[in-house]
Amino acid sequence: MVAMFNPIYFVVAGLAAAFLLTLFHNRERLSYFIMIIALSLMMLISLAHLASFLAGTGEIVQVFTAGFAPPFSINFQMGPPEALLTAIVSLVGLLSGIYLSEQLRKTGAYAQAVYIVLVMGMNAMILTRDLFNLFVFLEIVSIATVGILFLSRSRTSVNTGFTYMVASGLISVVLLIGIVFAYMNAGSLNIDTLSESLVMAGRGGSIAVLLITLAFLLELKPFPANGWGIDLYTSAPGALSALISAGGMSATYYALAKVLPVGQWSHDSLVAAVGGITFIASQIIALKQDDSRRLLGYSSIGQIGLLLVVLGFSEALGDRRDFIAAGLLITHALSKSILFYISDMVQDDSLRGWAALRRKPVLLVLFGVAAFALIGFPPFPSFFAKWDLILLLNGGTEGYYLLSAMVLAGSLIEAVYLFRWFSYALKLPHEDLPELASPTSRLIAPVTAALVLAGASWYVSTLVSGFSQSFLIPVAFILLVAVIDRLPAWSKNVISIAGVSLYIADLYPRIAGDLMTMIFAGIFLVGAVLTLLSGFYYKGRRAGFYPMALTMFAGLAALIEAATILEFFWGWELMAIGSYFLLIRGKKSMPHGLSYLLFSIGGSYSILYGFSLAAAGAGGVIAMSSLVGISVMPALAYSLMLLGFLTKTASIGVHIWLPGAHGEAVADIHFMASAILLKAGVFGLITVLLAMGSEAGYTRWILLALGWIGVLSALLGNISAAFQESAKRLLAWSSIGQLGYIVWGLASMSHLGWLIALGYSVTHFLYKGILFLAIGGIALKIGTPYMYKMGGLIKRMPYSFFAVLIAIITLSGVPPLVGFSAKWITYNLIISEQLYYQGFVILIAGIIAFLYLFRMIYTVFLGQLKDNLRSVGEISIWFRIPMYLLLIVILVLSFLPNTLLRPIGDMLSGIFPEEAIVWTGSRGVTSLGYFDGAMIMYVIVGIFVILTILFLLLRKQTQKVKQFNIFYSGEAPSRPELSHFSYNFFAHYRKAVGALALPLVTGFWDRVTEIIHAVSDFIRRIYTGNGQTYLFHIVLYVVVVFLVQSGGYR
């Protein structure tokens, strides 16, 4: 069957059509039709071969032209890599051809002929096995490129085109000289013959091979000799840039891969170095870029740099190299094409101009897909490719630790500018922007590319070992919910709750008995149901909310279900995507959503690096058990993993994303993010700490640091919470403080400490859930989160008041509620483990917690009711239902703390046998004393009842004061809130300890950002725009590389 699709037909179809259609040069429709037929034919050929290779029935096809065997004639080879690459080239060629239909038809048959030849040339570059033939097709591609470039006819494209021609002319000179000398030294032009020849034996041959390698490297536009190439991206029509970036780069990259064996791989370190420098430099330069085209250009070049690194490390990557390169290349080609197509539709070239995409949600979704795919998020092929790359770089006999760290750093920078841009598109105003040029016909290309990307993602995930297909089921469900996004919110809510409930029902039998897992599964998934329940308050469509919320929960569930570190990482990344979109939904959330995502990505790269060391130590095994007893740089590995998880618990130092992100989120998302999401970090910490243990010598220092991070988070989180004006931000800071307790407890690596941590994880979920729902509901109801705009709400919202009261009593840890038991264990821990310094700070932090709790309940619910709130009603019933469900659990646990603490304690005895609490009924006994939840409750309730009776008896002596029974001094304040008693509530405390809450850490991160941007601005000054300078760069590059490399030939 495949024999029908002789690869030579690429050339036959391309050229025959090109020559033929110029005969119809007055009938643009007909000639355009011929063009599309020819391009489709090319795609058909490549797909036929690709399909047979994927089905396992394919054989490598060799085509000898003229009927003579190579090296005497030119031959084409169609193997798996060629099939894949020609498929990419032909696909993007066809899509761009469709996209460009208007311009191609207007310019006429000659332009269409040039376009076909361009696509044909790229394909032939991939197929040919002859060096000189490669040169010929390379020339065809570069000439056809400038031909299509001219379709845009702008001044810059003409100027760029000229520089491009001279530059590629110079590169051809390098290539030709190399080819001639290679031929002289080996007597052949065939790549396979040359690879087996002694061409490298002599100095002349070595230099020749270097020149050939260098020529292809230069064609890939390495930093800094790439000004000519970047201008091309900036000035070409978007669809051409797509084709150059996807097709031209793939073809040239493969050409380079073909010629490397000619030099017996002696230049692989050169390729890797060039790639590494290009990758990092391009990403840094792109940071400062405001022109979207140019940014995409830098990003494309950066991606090629990464691919060069992969090629250069062929030896270390072994048989996984092709998988990694293919994964990166597919993702890059398709997502870059999508972005370039969109860039053509957006009329305003600046990054901010992309906000116009909000008028066409399809395009916005495509933008997001492309951005996440480029960074290597699941489920895209680049996720698995990057995973493999980092694991193998760190896992070989010699680990390339610095390199893998650099790769991650570069990816992080790429994430910074791509997501900054994406959040512009999501949030910036778009009313004044020019219209999108997006007729439906132009949507075909990007949509098809996205669909192919989805298909590729699915296929690639089936090839990965250590990754269960069952993780794709939730993704399929999410896609389903995304498809019905047009339905009203309540229906999607029902479907989502049903989905999550089904999942819980399926999960429960599998984890029943494993308490640790059960606790977190409960927090994650029961929390999910509760959040979704509160979602019924929303009237309308709530576009995009459900897929994203479900993505987050799918990620959380994957953490629990993960059997390998790859699956764990998958869940972690999935959660990051979902939560990012949820957090950025608020009105002013753009900068905060971004910083959340960046800290997430930074954290996850840190985790990835730690995981890769773990896998390296376990000889490539990626089961969860490989985290135990890491043998390669264990201290670094564990520290990095802990650091990564600490970004999610928002511990001090990496906390700066949280107050803004959570503070600006809407009500139920706020709940989701703070009460549930943060626990993912705790889960991660527990996983790592369990694996690390505390026996090894280095653990002492790690745990000490971790303990202090927890303590400081508690202290500073609580202090900052007290100084907030927004109730939401107050709660957000309070979460930092609460999570600090948990981290501190975990760091003690003791029975009681973990009891605290787990106890707090549950109770924090409960009371924070209540608080977020209540405060969120109130803020939603009255339209502001600021406490000085509230007051006296007890009269209007008694149910909320009661719930909040219970919650803050629990939180503050005073008797009788469940929080007290946690406090009591805390004191036990401080004494039994002799953690006096840390304990002291923890006690202080506990006291400060009273400040903000008091402030919250006082300024929100007590005091005078404001005029404008006189008729406000209770918060939505859909908030009150989950609130009161949580409240019931709190009360039960308060009466019977043993129901929670005892099983946890039993479980912990398996891990930390010493210092357990002995339970008899509701009475817990430690070496330091005892504690009885039920008894305390009786006592307190008793006191309360007596006081109430006294109050009722003495009631006559109280006098009711009407709200306006006061005197004004006649002064009208300019900012009324300044005179409100609850504004700057703790002014005197602020004077005393406010310095502690000063954004020192924020300043640090700001400075880091500034420095990197300054570097970016400095480096990009080499792109002066003068074509001649760019030519000089090329010549200089050749000389420098020659001088560096020629050391090896003497």
Partner: protein, 120 residues
């Protein structure tokens, strides 16, 4: 030093001269001319690569039987290659000149320093 070496050396020299022109001339036409010089230099190098001392053209004729050819003719392959390279060079040069015309029309100048640029 035979004629092959001379041609080879001259080729390299031409490439150098052309490069000097490309990098220092500021007039676009002069740059194109310099590029042609570089191209010619490369062609000379290619021809020199196929040169063999005291051999004849690779054409079978009455004076040259097919069986004697391997010991009597020069390497035919570089000649075939240089033919291709010359034609490609011609095409590239023609296109550059076309660009020069367009550049002049858009910028009213042919000084490479003065044409509008994209930067950073």
């Amino acid at each position: 030093m035979n004629i092959g070496s001379i041609a080879m050396g001259a080729g390299f020299l031409l490439v150098l001269i052309g490069l000097w022109g490309i990098l220092t001339r500021t007039h676009i036409i002069q740059i194109i001319v310099s590029f042609s010089v570089v191209d010619t230099g490369v062609h000379l190098i290619m021809v020199a690569a196929g040169y063999m001392h005291q051999r004849t053209a690779p054409i079978i004729s009455e004076g040259l039987a097919a069986s004697d050819a391997p010991s009597l003719v020069v390497d035919p392959l570089p000649q075939a290659l240089v033919l291709t390279a010359i034609v490609i060079g011609l095409g590239v040069t023609a296109l550059m000149l076309a660009f020069a015309l367009r550049i002049h029309e858009k910028n009213d100048t042919l000084e490479i320093k003065n044409i509008e640029r994209l930067r950073w």
